[in-house]
Amino acid sequence: MTSPLLGFAARAGRAAAVLLLVAVTALALPHLMPGSPAVAALGVTATPEQITAFEAGLGLDRNVLAATADWIGAALHGDLGHSLANGAAVTTELANRIPVTLELFVAAQLVALAIAVPVALVSAWRPGGAVDRIATAGAFGWLAVPGFVLGLLLIWLTAVQLRILPATGWTPFTEDPVENLRHLVLPALTLGLPEAAVFTRTLRGQLLDTLDRTHIAAARSRGMGTVRLLLRRALRPSSLPLVTLIGIGIGTSLGGSVLVESLFAVPGVGTLAAGAINGRDFPVIQAVMVVCAAGVVLATLTVDLLYRTLDPRIAHGHR
């Protein structure tokens, strides 16, 4: 059993190391990619002077480690460079887009949880019952459908057929909350529904395990009703794998966001990354990489903390 402070220091150290590694890799990218980023950015008619100046701006004329050190120094002062595509400050770009992606991510998790928790509870309480059988078949069905097919289906149904929701585009929450939510529904469903299937399977499995424990029988022997038993006694000890899944989701969600954001023309980090990669906009790619890594690191730390609050045995170092 290590002291909590030491454990925290170790985790913080690991987190810093991960971020540093990602930063170095990000800064090394222009060196590693074939072709000249300057030519890609300035066009084939660029003069040698222009190219030299451009490469100096990207730090390509220097050693990667030195460039990384400079980049980190500037980043700590809130300067992530400027986009090669439009000259805008990368920080401004990110500040506009991170909230959009975060909102989408949170909404998708809420959709997934709102479906998964009740379905898993009912399925696990009566395994093999009607709800369980339908949910199992449904989950495997959903999982077999690729995310973009689901998105297209949703667009076709709600936007084209029923005309109740906008198919694409975005309105910031601060501008018009109602419009914002209307634009949020389809991408959040497209991201959240397949996750609901995974969440349901995971939580159901864990609940089945928990419900067979003697302590559940003991609580029943003291007259605890089914609803209370499920919500107050079974759900919490069964929720750790779900927390892990959501934590991992923060890392992998960027991949999903690129697809879904592109499909619904949502101006989030995903579309920003996709555009930057296409245009070889290195300052933007680098910043997105490091920001995503920071997001994953932060998520991991949060999962860790959540574990501790959910299971006191972990907090006390018994597991």
Binding site: H215, S221, M224, D311, P312
Partner: protein
């Protein structure tokens, strides 16, 4: 004559297992417990002791369905005929259960106070302060040291012995009239066993609790149970006052159980009695005596005709064609230590 707290009459229980099998577990089980009395139920693994306790309580495994016929009378009220709401009402407050393994019978993520007071909080809301106070009182009543602090603790912070005290406190919280203790000390080491059994004894006496004490270990019942019911193959094969059953067993199975009683002084303290052969397969119907394949007194009739009830004393009965006579050589009594 006063009404017993628990009066089980000709109870038959069939369990429909999740895999579709139909298991006739309990056969014509009759027993009764008066207020303040302890009845010991002893038998090998699989003899139906836990199914009996669960049937009396009315809570079976979540995924199994059980059907019972006969009568389970609690203070004269037939529970098998009672409405589900009435049965639910009695859980924890009329009938309480102490479970076998204190390591698994407490929820690891719920504070002791919240588990100990469940029989109360399942009925009405108790503010947090009230919960902690009540829990501390209950813990103090089962000799948990530092009860105020322990009430706030989580199960993993307590030793096995303390956890079983917590289990007993939780059972007593609803002030039940009947306590079902299903092997409450099997998972504990010998020295802790004694203190936990003493604790149960004390509460039985002071509260006038009718107690059903289930065990593998007949030696554990000396001086604790007034009467014993010996179960085999889902039947009560012998029952009577503890001294008579243990000193003058009439049923060959009881005699075999007594011969295999573990010695506290021996090098290996066996809890499972070693009788050659295995108990009957409950998924198949059975004619004759369930013990016949393993019995050294068995004759042809034993396999075909159900044994009659033999009266070995005023309140001492055994179901056997060829019961041991009272003056027959007794089991090696000198080796019987009062355990634990």
């Amino acid at each position: 004559m006063t009404t017993p707290v628990l009066d089980v009459r000709s109870l038959d229980t069939v369990i429909h297992a999740p895999d579709g099998r139909r298991l006739h577990i309990l056969h014509d089980v009759s027993l009764h417990i008066d207020a303040g009395e302890c009845l010991g139920v002893v038998g090998e693994s699989g003899s139906g002791k836990s199914v009996l306790a669960r049937t009396v309580l009315g809570v079976h495994a979540r995924t199994t369905r059980a059907e019972s016929t006969g009568q389970v009378l609690l203070n004269g009220e037939d529970l098998l005929a009672a409405a589900p709401a009435r049965r639910a009402d009695l859980l924890g407050t009329g009938i309480a259960m102490v479970h076998q393994d204190p390591m698994t019978s407490l929820n690891p993520v719920v504070r002791i106070a919240d588990q100990v007071t469940e029989s109360l909080t399942n009925r009405r809301r108790l503010p947090r302060r009230e919960r902690l106070r009540t829990a501390a009182e209950l813990l103090a009543a089962v000799d948990v040291p530092d009860p105020v602090r322990r009430a706030r603790a989580y199960p993993h912070e307590l030793s096995g012995g303390l956890r079983q005290r917590v289990g007993i406190a939780a059972a007593l919280a609803g002030d039940p009239v009947l306590l079902l203790a299903d092997e409450p000390t099997t998972a504990l080491d010998v020295t802790v066993q004694r203190t936990v059994l003493d604790l149960l004894d004390r509460h039985r006496a002071t509260r006038g609790l009718a107690t059903l004490l289930i065990t593998h270990d007949i030696g554990l019942l000396y001086g604790r149970a007034r009467r014993i019911a010996v179960m085999y193959g889902g039947r009560v094969v012998e029952s009577g006052p503890t001294e008579q059953v243990t000193e003058r067993p009439a049923h060959p199975y009881t005699a075999a159980l007594l011969r295999s009683v573990p010695r506290v002084t021996g090098p290996l303290r066996r809890v499972l009695p070693a009788i050659p052969g295995s108990p009957p397969d409950l998924s198949r119907p059975l004619t004759g005596c369930p013990f016949a394949p393993r019995c050294d007194r068995a004759e042809a009739v034993c396999a075909t005709v159900a044994p009659p009830v033999h009266r070995a004393g005023p309140a001492h009965t055994a179901s056997c064609h060829f019961p041991l006579a009272a003056e027959a050589p007794r089991p090696s009594q000198t080796s019987l230590e009062r355990t634990p």
